[in-house]
């Protein structure tokens, strides 16, 4: 009897320790990044770093504005492309497609959500980059190497498709059939039902899917690094090379790690990534709580 109690005690405490340790990891990452980026924050005020547009590590200038703009552009355009396309596809798969089509598409989408980002990057580099260079950019009358903000946005959009689609399918599926039938029975067309019933009833799920897609696009490192061009200047057009926060770390860690101030600047970039993800998670929780209250059935 005592042995069992002892085992219960030890097991429970061990689980508690591991849980505390993992939660502490969250604070550890934050504090360590803050601590390591203190050096660059002491030399220049944070507003200068965030809004100055000259990134010249050799001269001690760490203006992150071009990189932040690059990140916002790639993530924003990717989401603008991905959200309507994925939503419409998810609606078609759930509401319109015949059962057989549905059953074949779903596992396929799940596999795609698991394809490593480096594979997307490789395909974008070897297929999309020449396509942009030789066809799309000349069509707009611009000359480009193909390594540009536009290519990176398209790549990110394609990476985000399976994530948003599979989560949206899940939340559309969870809506009770009676709700849809009520709308159809009063003479609404199928699209009207989707627009006024399905999309509203599943709004929390759709918002969660979009936030997850945002997180993926925002933090994507490798695939973006392969196609964005990697030049930290404020892009004048979408067909110019740029740089994003995550991609900057991957491309510069080798040359910058040797000098403390520059290393500290990279840590600041990582800190920004962490803080933005943190803020968006809080926003997500708040929005979901409201949305669940607003659209409950």
């Amino acid at each position: 009897m005592n042995a069992r109690k002892l085992r219960d005690f030890i097991g429970t405490k061990l689980m508690l320790i591991v849980t505390l340790f993992t939660s502490a990891l969250f604070f550890a990452i934050f504090l360590l990044l803050l601590f390591r980026s203190a050096l660059v924050l002491q030399t220049e005020p944070i507003t200068d770093i965030l809004f100055s547009s000259t990134w010249h590590p050799d001269n001690g200038q760490f203006g992150l504005a071009p990189i932040i703009i690059g990140t916002m552009l790639t993530t924003g355009i990717a989401l603008i492309i991905a959200i309507p396309i994925s939503l419409l596809s998810a609606i078609y798969i759930v509401e319109y497609a015949p059962r057989r089509v549905r059953k074949t598409i779903r596992p396929f989408i799940d596999v795609l959500a698991g394809v490593p980002s480096v594979v997307y990057g490789l395909c974008a580099f070897l297929f999309l980059v020449p396509l942009v260079k030789d066809f799309i950019a000349p069509w707009f009358g611009v000359q480009t190497t193909g390594l540009c903000i536009f290519t990176a946005s398209i790549t990110l959009a394609i990476m985000v498709f399976p994530i948003i689609i599979s989560l949206c399918i899940e939340s559309f599926d969870a809506i009770p059939t009676a709700l849809k039938e009520a709308s159809l029975s009063v003479g609404a067309t199928k699209w009207e039902t989707v627009k006024k019933v399905v999309l509203r009833a599943s709004a929390p799920g759709v918002i969660a899917a979009i936030l997850l897609g945002f997180g993926r696009a925002f933090g994507e490192t490798i695939a973006v690094n392969m196609v964005v061009g990697g030049i930290p200047i404020v892009p004048k057009s979408l067909f110019q090379p740029g740089e994003t926060l995550a991609s900057l770390i991957a491309s510069k860690y080798g040359e910058l790690m040797a000098i403390p101030l520059q290393e500290s600047a990279l840590m600041l970039v990582a800190l920004i990534l962490f803080v933005v993800v943190f803020l968006f998670n809080i926003l997500g929780v708040l929005v979901l709580r409201r949305a669940k209250k607003r659209w409950k059935y």
């Binding site: 219960d8 993992t22 394809v115 490593p116 395909c123 580099f125 699209w191």
Partner: protein, 281 residues
């Protein structure tokens, strides 16, 4: 009649738009699969998967160091993440913790899930610099473990939450302790979900390049101890993609990664279906 027509036109228009967008999604995804399978299969040979690059020549030989490196990194990382994750997931249940604490832990895990993998990479790199050690297999395993813990824990947690209360109460009424109930009843009942979570983590870990880029480094040899730096398939693709002469190897590596992801996905489906038989409804 006028209004009805408008509504029907709207319906038709959106149906066309939906089919169009589904075609864009499936088309772009078919292009990716087509590119990788076609180019990967054509650069695939026995030499490619059974040899390591010759010394001093990254482009010669095969990608065996990358394949083995990936397996040596992802399997131990998934194993450790599973052990840590299962303890957390069981502990988060109502039997052990008040709900404010478990909600807080879930919130931190959700944030950790969303943190870009490059941040884990740079976090481990900082610790490595502090300890004064270079890139190694061990550091790569640590980075991947940190990356996988939130993924595995949260998906196991979701499936353990679904275990019916009656089952737990049955175990308690027979006099078993909380720990025994967690390990013997909850774990078995939620086994399909736990397995799916582990495979999800494995798939994410084996394909991630950003976290192991600085931590496990790169090497042309198969690592002989956990303190050697090692190549992995994703870092191999990242290092070789821009050189035209390196692209066959990059494609071969991408092909193998894709096959691994496919195998993980299919086996996840089959295994969960198989083990669902033993679950008490």
């Amino acid at each position: 009649m006028e209004i009805l027509n408008k509504r029907i036109i709207e319906e038709k228009l959106f149906k066309v738009l939906m089919i169009l967008s589904l075609c864009i999604v499936l088309g772009s995804l078919f292009i990716i699969f087509g590119l990788v399978i076609f180019n990967g299969a054509s650069s695939m040979s026995l030499e490619m998967i059974t040899q390591t690059p010759k010394s001093g020549d990254v482009l010669g030989g095969g990608i065996l160091n990358g394949i083995l490196g990936s397996l040596f990194l992802a399997f131990p990382a998934t194993g450790i993440a599973f052990l840590i994750g299962i303890m957390i997931a069981l502990y988060l249940q109502k039997d052990f913790t008040p709900s404010w604490f478990s909600n807080f832990v879930r919130f931190t895990l959700d944030i950790l899930w969303g943190v870009p993998s490059i941040v884990y990479g740079i976090f481990c790199l900082m610790i490595m610099i502090y300890l004064g050690v270079g890139s190694s297999l061990l550091a790569g395993i640590v980075a991947l473990t940190l990356l996988e813990i939130p993924i595995i824990t949260r998906s196991m947690d979701e499936s353990i939450k679904m275990v019916p209360v009656g089952l737990k109460e049955g175990a308690y009424s027979l006099g078993s302790t909380k720990f025994e109930t967690a390990v013997k009843v909850l774990r078995r009942q939620a086994f399909p979900g736990i397995l799916a979570g582990v495979l999800l983590g494995l798939g994410r870990g084996i394909g991630d390049a950003a976290s192991i880029l600085f931590t496990s480094g790169f090497s042309n040899r198969i690592p002989s101890s956990i303190f050697d730096s090692t190549a992995a398939l994703p870092t191999m693709i990242f290092n070789l993609y821009s050189l035209p002469s390196g692209q066959p190897k990059a494609y071969a590596a991408a092909f193998i990664l894709l096959v691994i992801v496919l195998v993980i996905s299919v086996s996840s489906r089959l295994l969960t279906r198989r083990f669902k038989k033993h679950v008490i409804k």
